[in-house]
Symmetry: C2
Subunit: 348 residues, 2 copies
């Protein structure tokens, strides 16, 4: 079994879980499901006793304080501090350039929820085995609904002697009709942005398909400087790196794309309804989280999340109520898609 180095990507800052998630305290660093934050849970899924090395966290200066405050569960972790945001191809390349060619990277977002970490670990092991044989491996997350917010992976031929498959096609976010046909077909999985790559193979593919990204990142790392467990790529060089996703830059171009199936109760917690779906509910389908008290009368499938004030709700179904500091959000389950466009979310 190769050594697996978790590469935890900690970038971006969504507005879809506003007002709980804010620019100043984004989603990965909040204890949205259970007592640990999504970032802490990402680290905890890759423990040493399952063969994982100390993780490499790639993050920006804006999130650095949050990362370091929540890093205690991952001894030996290092942090690569991006001087600017250049999307996932560059972020992964930064980690790759600091690792030996034969190491296997397990690239994980830090803001997803995985309900079955045991299945994650099994899939990670299978993906790493494939990666060490030269495949560029995506986790193919079992699709359980016709989601239009995710990209899909089309399953190709089985790879003999493994649980993996070739990836026949990367499909961008579909419309509802196509999403439904994918679900009915059964041969499609969600692309959750979890990958396993042998470092040398990843850099070779990146150099082949996006030579400028590969070259500039290499240069930024060569000119970079360490500071205790932190590594700072050269800012001026990194600023010149083209911004591209790993899907576009590498996965859609390589001839060695593979996928391992993973039915691991995954959620990107991409909006308030997704969070509600990931939480435990009472017999009426209601969930209460946060530090505030709640009283629900004649309610079904209501989520209340308050950071202090008591929330009393009467007579509502499929509604989400969030209280965070000076903001109160009340939305239907369908309305959650519009949260990111609210004045409060846009002008924070």
């Amino acid at each position: 079994m190769p050594q697996i180095v978790p590469v935890i990507l900690c970038g971006g800052s969504g507005t879809r879980l506003w007002p709980r998630s804010r620019a100043a305290m984004p989603k990965p660093f909040l204890p949205l499901v259970g007592d640990t934050t999504l970032f802490e849970a990402s680290l905890a899924r890759c423990p040493a006793d399952l063969g994982f090395s100390a993780p490499v966290v790639v993050t920006g200066t804006r999130h650095l304080d949050h990362v370091e405050a929540q890093l205690s569960g991952a001894p030996g972790a290092t942090v690569i501090v991006e001087p600017a945001a250049r999307n996932t191809a560059a972020a992964i390349a930064l980690a790759a350039c600091r690792l030996p060619d034969d190491a296997v990277m397990l690239v994980c977002p830090s803001d997803h929820h995985i309900g079955r970490p045991d299945v994650f670990a099994e899939a990670a092991s299978a993906a790493a085995a494939l990666a060490s044989e030269g495949w560029l491996v995506s986790f193919g997350i079992e699709a359980t609904a016709p989601e239009t917010g995710f990209g899909y992976l089309k399953r190709g031929d089985a790879i003999e002697g493994t649980t993996g498959f070739r990836t026949a096609q990367f499909v961008e976010k579909p419309d509802l009709e196509r999403a439904k046909s994918f679900l009915a077909d059964g041969g499609y999985a969600w692309n959750g942005g979890i990958f396993a790559f042998r470092v040398g193979d990843f850099m070779a593919e990146l150099s082949a398909h996006r030579p400028e990204i590969a070259a500039k990142v290499r240069e930024a790392v060569e000119k970079g400087a360490s500071d205790s467990h932190r590594f700072h790529p050269d800012a001026a060089t990194f600023a010149a790196v083209p911004s591209d996703s790993v899907d576009y830059a590498v996965m859609e171009n390589t001839s060695r794309a593979a996928m391992v199936p993973a039915d691991m109760d995954w959620s990107d917690i991409g909006n308030w309804q997704a969070l509600h779906d990931a939480l435990e509910r009472d017999e009426s389908g209601n969930s209460v989280r946060g530090s505030g008290e709640a009283e629900l009368v004649d309610c079904r499938n209501v989520l209340v999340d308050s950071d202090g004030p008591r929330v009393s709700v009467i007579g509502l179904d499929n509604v989400i109520v969030v209280v965070d500091g000076n903001e109160v959000l009340v939305t239907t389950a369908e309305g959650v898609q519009k949260v990111g466009k609210l004045n409060g979310a846009v002008n924070q």
Copy 2:
């Protein structure tokens, strides 16, 4: 035209507008509709230039500070401070015992909204004229819905030469079916607790039907003491006064009950939906009040009332959101009847 003395009753403390209305800051003293409080508006409806004397306010010790803080619009007002709550018969009798027998009292609750004060003034004038002829007059408020929360007045024969009618019957709060039949019949009006009495007649009827109330209140006033514009009935004597409503004690027993019709856009603001109905709405039927900002997306007939935090609402119809200090209330229009039973309302 006789002199009309407004007798403003300022008692009780409901829980149906919780959390905005609280035990410590009850409904009459809040600016629920427009910029003035319901109490201030009650005073303002009885100005000197329409022939009203300075008002007499009857209130309890608990509300005294609020009353005095909001009394500046009524020069010459006096305040009778009830040492205990003994319902409306005793409260009105307290005022009566301090007025000359031939004065006409216009008894008004202080927690109702009247959208057309001009109609109120006309009805008051008509009621006072009838009262000065010996009638005990109720305002018969035009019923506009089959309300089950109000008592009703059944209209009897017209009183010749006036706009008034004999009151054929006092009907207690009906069930929905009866309320609908009253509305269809057209001969029923809401009893809003607004009355005109000649002082001597009121005390004579009270003495006839509830002699103990009349006697004990007289004694409490005789043994009472003035303190600037305040009058304090004797506490020990007043404590012994039987508690009864003016409807039960006097109106249902007198043979001289009359009513004047009043179509004055009246509301008792008896719950959050009633308040919403009394407020101005935008083209989507939404209302925003309070000092907090609000953003309503895809909403219809939503009321937002916040004392500070911004409230963002998506996709809801017929819902009321109230933010007050450490309490947040979210209820359907139908749910407003249950507000008073919420833990927050009960345990305040």
